[in-house]
Protein backbone atom coordinates (compact mmCIF):
# COMPACT_ATOMS: atom_id res chain seq x y z
CA UNK A 1 0.00 0.00 0.00
CA UNK A 2 2.80 2.26 0.81
CA UNK A 3 4.41 1.33 -2.37
CA UNK A 4 1.22 1.97 -4.25
CA UNK A 5 0.48 5.34 -2.58
CA UNK A 6 3.85 6.96 -2.01
CA UNK A 7 2.84 10.52 -2.85
CA UNK A 8 0.20 11.13 -0.13
CA UNK A 9 2.48 9.62 2.46
CA UNK A 10 5.31 11.84 1.41
CA UNK A 11 3.04 14.86 1.54
CA UNK A 12 1.89 13.85 5.02
CA UNK A 13 5.45 13.35 6.22
CA UNK A 14 6.63 16.66 4.83
CA UNK A 15 3.65 18.48 6.37
CA UNK A 16 4.52 16.99 9.75
CA UNK A 17 8.09 18.15 9.47
CA UNK A 18 7.03 21.61 8.30
CA UNK A 19 4.55 21.84 11.16
CA UNK A 20 7.28 21.04 13.65
CA UNK A 21 9.42 23.71 12.20
CA UNK A 22 6.63 26.25 12.23
CA UNK A 23 5.60 25.35 15.75
CA UNK A 24 9.08 26.02 17.01
CA UNK A 25 9.06 29.22 19.09
CA UNK A 26 10.33 32.13 17.03
CA UNK A 27 13.12 34.29 18.38
CA UNK A 28 11.54 37.74 18.68
CA UNK A 29 14.82 39.35 17.70
CA UNK A 30 14.80 37.37 14.50
CA UNK A 31 18.31 36.23 15.23
CA UNK A 32 19.78 32.81 15.62
CA UNK A 33 20.58 31.52 19.10
CA UNK A 34 23.66 33.14 20.57
CA UNK A 35 26.37 32.10 22.92
CA UNK A 36 26.71 33.45 26.45
CA UNK A 37 29.65 35.59 25.47
CA UNK A 38 27.65 37.16 22.64
CA UNK A 39 24.80 37.84 25.03
CA UNK A 40 27.15 39.47 27.50
CA UNK A 41 28.70 41.63 24.81
CA UNK A 42 25.34 42.79 23.53
CA UNK A 43 24.15 43.58 27.03
CA UNK A 44 27.20 45.75 27.57
CA UNK A 45 26.59 47.50 24.27
CA UNK A 46 22.97 48.14 25.11
CA UNK A 47 23.94 49.59 28.44
CA UNK A 48 26.47 51.83 26.77
CA UNK A 49 23.93 53.00 24.22
CA UNK A 50 21.23 53.60 26.76
CA UNK A 51 23.57 55.69 28.90
CA UNK A 52 23.33 59.39 28.08
CA UNK A 53 26.01 60.44 25.65
CA UNK A 54 28.29 63.23 26.88
CA UNK A 55 27.28 65.36 23.96
CA UNK A 56 23.64 65.28 24.85
CA UNK A 57 24.05 66.15 28.50
CA UNK A 58 26.83 68.68 28.19
CA UNK A 59 25.55 72.23 28.36
CA UNK A 60 28.37 73.61 26.27
CA UNK A 61 28.23 74.08 22.52
CA UNK A 62 30.13 70.99 21.62
CA UNK A 63 31.54 71.06 18.15
CA UNK A 64 32.58 67.72 16.84
CA UNK A 65 35.56 67.77 14.63
CA UNK A 66 38.08 65.30 13.31
CA UNK A 67 41.03 64.70 15.57
CA UNK A 68 44.23 66.34 14.47
CA UNK A 69 45.87 63.03 13.80
CA UNK A 70 45.46 61.54 10.37
CA UNK A 71 46.84 58.55 8.61
CA UNK A 72 48.38 59.74 5.41
CA UNK A 73 48.54 57.37 2.52
CA UNK A 74 51.41 57.65 0.05
CA UNK A 75 48.93 57.67 -2.81
CA UNK A 76 47.91 61.30 -3.43
CA UNK A 77 44.49 60.50 -4.76
CA UNK A 78 43.22 57.94 -2.35
CA UNK A 79 41.30 58.55 0.81
CA UNK A 80 42.60 59.26 4.26
CA UNK A 81 41.27 57.60 7.33
CA UNK A 82 40.47 60.18 9.93
CA UNK A 83 39.19 59.19 13.33
CA UNK A 84 36.08 60.93 14.51
CA UNK A 85 36.85 62.92 17.61
CA UNK A 86 34.82 62.35 20.67
CA UNK A 87 32.92 65.47 21.50
CA UNK A 88 34.03 67.02 24.73
CA UNK A 89 32.33 69.75 26.67
CA UNK A 90 33.79 73.18 26.13
CA UNK A 91 35.02 74.61 29.41
CA UNK A 92 34.26 78.20 28.55
CA UNK A 93 30.85 78.09 27.04
CA UNK A 94 28.86 76.63 29.89
CA UNK A 95 26.06 79.10 29.36
CA UNK A 96 25.55 78.09 25.77
CA UNK A 97 23.05 75.74 24.28
CA UNK A 98 23.81 72.05 23.96
CA UNK A 99 25.22 70.94 20.70
CA UNK A 100 23.52 68.39 18.54
CA UNK A 101 24.94 64.90 18.86
CA UNK A 102 26.37 64.24 15.47
CA UNK A 103 28.84 61.82 14.06
CA UNK A 104 31.30 62.85 11.40
CA UNK A 105 32.29 60.64 8.55
CA UNK A 106 35.55 58.79 8.92
CA UNK A 107 37.33 59.77 5.74
CA UNK A 108 38.11 62.92 3.84
CA UNK A 109 37.39 61.56 0.41
CA UNK A 110 39.62 62.20 -2.55
CA UNK A 111 42.62 64.39 -1.80
CA UNK A 112 44.26 66.24 -4.68
CA UNK A 113 44.97 69.87 -5.56
CA UNK A 114 41.39 70.54 -6.62
CA UNK A 115 39.89 69.12 -3.44
CA UNK A 116 42.56 70.71 -1.25
CA UNK A 117 41.60 74.04 -2.80
CA UNK A 118 37.97 73.37 -1.94
CA UNK A 119 39.00 72.45 1.60
CA UNK A 120 40.97 75.63 2.20
CA UNK A 121 38.24 77.78 0.69
CA UNK A 122 35.58 76.04 2.78
CA UNK A 123 37.71 76.49 5.91
CA UNK A 124 38.03 80.20 5.30
CA UNK A 125 34.40 80.75 4.42
CA UNK A 126 33.51 78.91 7.62
CA UNK A 127 35.35 81.40 9.80
CA UNK A 128 34.07 84.34 7.78
CA UNK A 129 30.53 83.12 8.41
CA UNK A 130 31.20 82.90 12.14
CA UNK A 131 32.68 86.41 12.21
CA UNK A 132 29.63 87.80 10.46
CA UNK A 133 27.49 86.76 13.42
CA UNK A 134 29.53 88.82 15.88
CA UNK A 135 28.47 92.48 15.38
CA UNK A 136 24.85 91.85 16.31
CA UNK A 137 25.54 89.53 19.24
CA UNK A 138 28.88 90.11 20.97
CA UNK A 139 29.26 92.00 24.21
CA UNK A 140 33.01 92.44 24.49
CA UNK A 141 34.98 94.87 22.40
CA UNK A 142 37.98 92.55 22.11
CA UNK A 143 35.74 89.83 20.71
CA UNK A 144 34.42 92.27 18.13
CA UNK A 145 37.94 93.32 17.17
CA UNK A 146 39.04 89.72 16.89
CA UNK A 147 36.14 88.89 14.60
CA UNK A 148 36.97 91.87 12.38
CA UNK A 149 40.52 90.58 12.09
CA UNK A 150 39.26 87.11 11.20
CA UNK A 151 37.02 88.59 8.56
CA UNK A 152 39.92 90.52 7.03
CA UNK A 153 42.53 87.77 7.18
CA UNK A 154 40.37 84.90 6.01
CA UNK A 155 39.00 87.00 3.18
CA UNK A 156 42.61 87.72 2.22
CA UNK A 157 43.44 84.01 2.22
CA UNK A 158 40.48 83.20 0.03
CA UNK A 159 41.45 85.91 -2.41
CA UNK A 160 45.00 84.56 -2.57
CA UNK A 161 43.69 81.05 -3.15
CA UNK A 162 41.25 82.19 -5.82
CA UNK A 163 43.95 84.20 -7.60
CA UNK A 164 46.26 81.20 -7.61
CA UNK A 165 43.56 78.80 -8.78
CA UNK A 166 42.75 81.14 -11.65
CA UNK A 167 46.41 81.29 -12.56
CA UNK A 168 46.83 77.52 -12.39
CA UNK A 169 43.46 76.89 -14.04
CA UNK A 170 42.36 74.63 -11.22
CA UNK A 171 38.72 74.49 -10.20
CA UNK A 172 37.97 73.62 -6.58
CA UNK A 173 36.22 70.27 -6.26
CA UNK A 174 34.40 69.30 -3.09
CA UNK A 175 35.33 66.16 -1.23
CA UNK A 176 33.87 64.68 1.93
CA UNK A 177 36.03 66.91 4.11
CA UNK A 178 34.95 70.17 2.49
CA UNK A 179 31.30 69.11 2.53
CA UNK A 180 31.64 68.13 6.17
CA UNK A 181 33.11 71.56 6.92
CA UNK A 182 30.04 73.19 5.44
CA UNK A 183 27.69 70.98 7.42
CA UNK A 184 29.59 71.64 10.60
CA UNK A 185 29.74 75.34 9.91
CA UNK A 186 26.00 75.46 9.41
CA UNK A 187 25.32 73.58 12.63
CA UNK A 188 27.67 75.77 14.63
CA UNK A 189 26.13 78.91 13.21
CA UNK A 190 22.71 77.63 14.27
CA UNK A 191 24.02 77.32 17.82
CA UNK A 192 25.72 80.72 17.84
CA UNK A 193 22.71 82.46 16.32
CA UNK A 194 20.63 81.64 19.37
CA UNK A 195 23.07 83.33 21.75
CA UNK A 196 23.91 86.88 22.66
CA UNK A 197 26.00 88.87 25.14
CA UNK A 198 28.40 87.01 27.41
CA UNK A 199 27.07 83.61 26.39
CA UNK A 200 27.75 84.40 22.77
CA UNK A 201 31.24 85.71 23.54
CA UNK A 202 32.15 82.49 25.35
CA UNK A 203 30.71 80.20 22.71
CA UNK A 204 32.19 82.16 19.82
CA UNK A 205 35.68 82.30 21.30
CA UNK A 206 35.63 78.63 22.22
CA UNK A 207 34.47 77.81 18.72
CA UNK A 208 37.30 79.92 17.27
CA UNK A 209 39.89 78.00 19.27
CA UNK A 210 38.51 74.69 18.05
CA UNK A 211 38.12 75.89 14.49
CA UNK A 212 41.72 77.10 14.26
CA UNK A 213 43.03 73.94 15.91
CA UNK A 214 41.24 71.91 13.29
CA UNK A 215 42.34 74.15 10.42
CA UNK A 216 45.96 73.99 11.57
CA UNK A 217 45.83 70.20 11.88
CA UNK A 218 44.29 69.93 8.45
CA UNK A 219 47.02 72.13 6.95
CA UNK A 220 49.79 70.17 8.64
CA UNK A 221 48.43 66.68 8.13
CA UNK A 222 46.65 66.88 4.81
CA UNK A 223 46.76 70.07 2.78
CA UNK A 224 50.45 71.01 2.83
CA UNK A 225 51.91 67.48 2.58
CA UNK A 226 49.41 66.37 -0.06
CA UNK A 227 49.45 69.42 -2.34
CA UNK A 228 51.18 68.49 -5.58
CA UNK A 229 51.54 71.91 -7.17
CA UNK A 230 54.51 73.78 -5.71
CA UNK A 231 52.78 77.18 -5.78
CA UNK A 232 49.73 75.83 -4.01
CA UNK A 233 51.94 74.19 -1.42
CA UNK A 234 53.85 77.46 -0.90
CA UNK A 235 50.62 79.38 -0.51
CA UNK A 236 49.34 76.90 2.05
CA UNK A 237 52.66 77.11 3.88
CA UNK A 238 52.33 80.90 3.94
CA UNK A 239 48.81 80.62 5.31
CA UNK A 240 49.93 78.39 8.15
CA UNK A 241 51.54 81.17 10.27
CA UNK A 242 48.33 83.17 9.95
CA UNK A 243 46.27 80.30 11.27
CA UNK A 244 48.77 79.65 14.07
CA UNK A 245 48.70 83.34 15.04
CA UNK A 246 44.91 83.32 15.01
CA UNK A 247 44.88 80.25 17.23
CA UNK A 248 47.24 81.90 19.73
CA UNK A 249 45.12 85.04 19.66
CA UNK A 250 41.92 83.05 20.16
CA UNK A 251 43.44 81.15 23.09
CA UNK A 252 44.49 84.43 24.71
CA UNK A 253 41.02 85.82 24.15
CA UNK A 254 39.47 82.71 25.65
CA UNK A 255 41.64 83.14 28.75
CA UNK A 256 40.50 86.77 29.02
CA UNK A 257 36.86 85.79 28.61
CA UNK A 258 37.23 83.10 31.24
CA UNK A 259 38.91 85.53 33.63
CA UNK A 260 36.33 88.18 32.69
CA UNK A 261 39.16 90.65 32.16
Amino acid sequence: MLARRPLPLLVLASSFITGCVLLKPIDPSGMSPRTESEEARDTAQNQAESAPAPVEVAPAPVITMPAPTTTVSPNPTDTIAMPVAAATPAPVAREAAPAPARARRHDLGTVNDATISAMVLASNYTDISYAQLVPARALRQDVREFSRRMLTDHTTVNQLVRDLLAKLDIGPVDNIASLDMRDESSENRDILRELSGAAFDSAYVENEVRYHQKFLASLDDVMIPRARNAELRTLLSNVRPAVAAHLAHAEQLRANVLARK
Binding site: R149, T152, D153, T156, P241, A242, A244, A245
Partner: protein
Protein backbone atom coordinates in the same frame (compact mmCIF):
# COMPACT_ATOMS: atom_id res chain seq x y z
CA UNK B 1 97.84 132.84 21.14
CA UNK B 2 95.59 135.63 20.18
CA UNK B 3 92.20 136.22 21.67
CA UNK B 4 90.60 135.07 18.41
CA UNK B 5 92.55 131.81 18.50
CA UNK B 6 91.52 131.18 22.09
CA UNK B 7 87.88 131.75 21.23
CA UNK B 8 88.10 129.38 18.29
CA UNK B 9 89.74 126.71 20.41
CA UNK B 10 87.05 127.11 23.07
CA UNK B 11 84.39 126.76 20.42
CA UNK B 12 85.88 123.51 19.15
CA UNK B 13 86.09 122.20 22.70
CA UNK B 14 82.45 123.07 23.28
CA UNK B 15 81.41 121.17 20.17
CA UNK B 16 83.44 118.12 21.09
CA UNK B 17 81.99 118.14 24.61
CA UNK B 18 78.45 117.93 23.20
CA UNK B 19 79.12 114.78 21.16
CA UNK B 20 78.27 111.61 23.07
CA UNK B 21 81.23 109.31 23.58
CA UNK B 22 79.69 106.45 21.51
CA UNK B 23 78.22 108.61 18.82
CA UNK B 24 78.33 107.57 15.23
CA UNK B 25 76.54 108.42 12.08
CA UNK B 26 72.84 107.57 12.47
CA UNK B 27 71.86 104.42 10.66
CA UNK B 28 68.70 103.01 9.24
CA UNK B 29 67.80 99.58 10.58
CA UNK B 30 65.24 97.47 8.76
CA UNK B 31 62.70 95.09 10.22
CA UNK B 32 60.78 92.85 7.91
CA UNK B 33 57.29 91.68 8.72
CA UNK B 34 56.79 88.26 7.18
CA UNK B 35 55.21 84.97 8.12
CA UNK B 36 53.38 86.65 11.00
CA UNK B 37 56.66 87.59 12.66
CA UNK B 38 59.07 90.52 12.94
CA UNK B 39 62.52 89.77 11.54
CA UNK B 40 64.73 90.39 13.34
CA UNK B 41 62.56 90.14 16.41
CA UNK B 42 65.22 91.81 18.54
CA UNK B 43 67.16 94.84 17.43
CA UNK B 44 69.89 97.03 18.94
CA UNK B 45 70.04 100.66 17.82
CA UNK B 46 71.62 103.89 18.98
CA UNK B 47 69.83 107.14 19.74
CA UNK B 48 69.26 108.86 16.44
CA UNK B 49 68.93 105.67 14.40
CA UNK B 50 65.85 105.11 12.30
CA UNK B 51 63.94 101.85 12.33
CA UNK B 52 61.93 100.98 9.23
CA UNK B 53 59.37 98.20 9.27
CA UNK B 54 58.32 96.79 5.90
CA UNK B 55 55.35 94.53 5.60
CA UNK B 56 56.33 91.81 3.18
CA UNK B 57 53.52 89.55 4.32
CA UNK B 58 50.34 89.05 2.36
CA UNK B 59 48.28 90.09 5.37
CA UNK B 60 47.75 93.45 7.01
CA UNK B 61 49.96 94.12 10.03
CA UNK B 62 50.96 97.01 12.29
CA UNK B 63 53.84 97.86 14.58
CA UNK B 64 52.99 99.41 17.92
CA UNK B 65 55.13 99.98 21.01
CA UNK B 66 53.67 98.60 24.21
CA UNK B 67 54.50 101.98 25.74
CA UNK B 68 52.72 103.79 22.90
CA UNK B 69 56.03 105.36 21.83
CA UNK B 70 54.90 104.67 18.28
CA UNK B 71 51.94 103.13 16.56
CA UNK B 72 51.71 102.57 12.87
CA UNK B 73 48.55 102.48 10.83
CA UNK B 74 47.67 99.19 9.21
CA UNK B 75 50.40 98.30 6.76
CA UNK B 76 49.42 96.46 3.63
CA UNK B 77 51.82 94.37 1.63
CA UNK B 78 54.86 96.45 0.69
CA UNK B 79 54.01 99.42 2.95
CA UNK B 80 56.53 100.83 5.41
CA UNK B 81 56.58 102.63 8.71
CA UNK B 82 59.56 104.42 10.24
CA UNK B 83 60.42 105.54 13.74
CA UNK B 84 63.45 107.48 15.02
CA UNK B 85 64.92 106.41 18.33
CA UNK B 86 65.04 109.48 20.59
CA UNK B 87 65.58 108.06 24.06
CA UNK B 88 67.44 105.11 25.51
CA UNK B 89 65.92 101.97 26.93
CA UNK B 90 64.27 98.73 25.92
CA UNK B 91 61.03 98.96 24.02
CA UNK B 92 58.77 96.00 23.40
CA UNK B 93 56.32 96.18 20.57
CA UNK B 94 53.65 94.12 18.88
CA UNK B 95 51.29 93.96 15.94
CA UNK B 96 47.97 95.44 16.98
CA UNK B 97 46.17 93.19 14.53
CA UNK B 98 47.89 90.04 15.77
CA UNK B 99 48.99 90.58 19.37
CA UNK B 100 51.04 87.40 19.49
CA UNK B 101 53.48 88.94 17.01
CA UNK B 102 56.08 90.58 19.19
CA UNK B 103 59.48 92.25 18.94
CA UNK B 104 61.81 94.42 20.98
CA UNK B 105 64.29 97.22 20.38
CA UNK B 106 67.09 98.23 22.72
CA UNK B 107 68.11 101.86 22.23
CA UNK B 108 71.66 102.57 23.38
CA UNK B 109 73.12 106.03 24.14
Amino acid sequence: MTLRQVAAFAGVLACVARVPPHSRTPRVEYVSIRGFAFAPAELDVVVGDTVVWTNTDQFVHTTAADSAAWSSPELRTGERFMWIARGTGQLSYHCAAHPKMRGSIVVHP
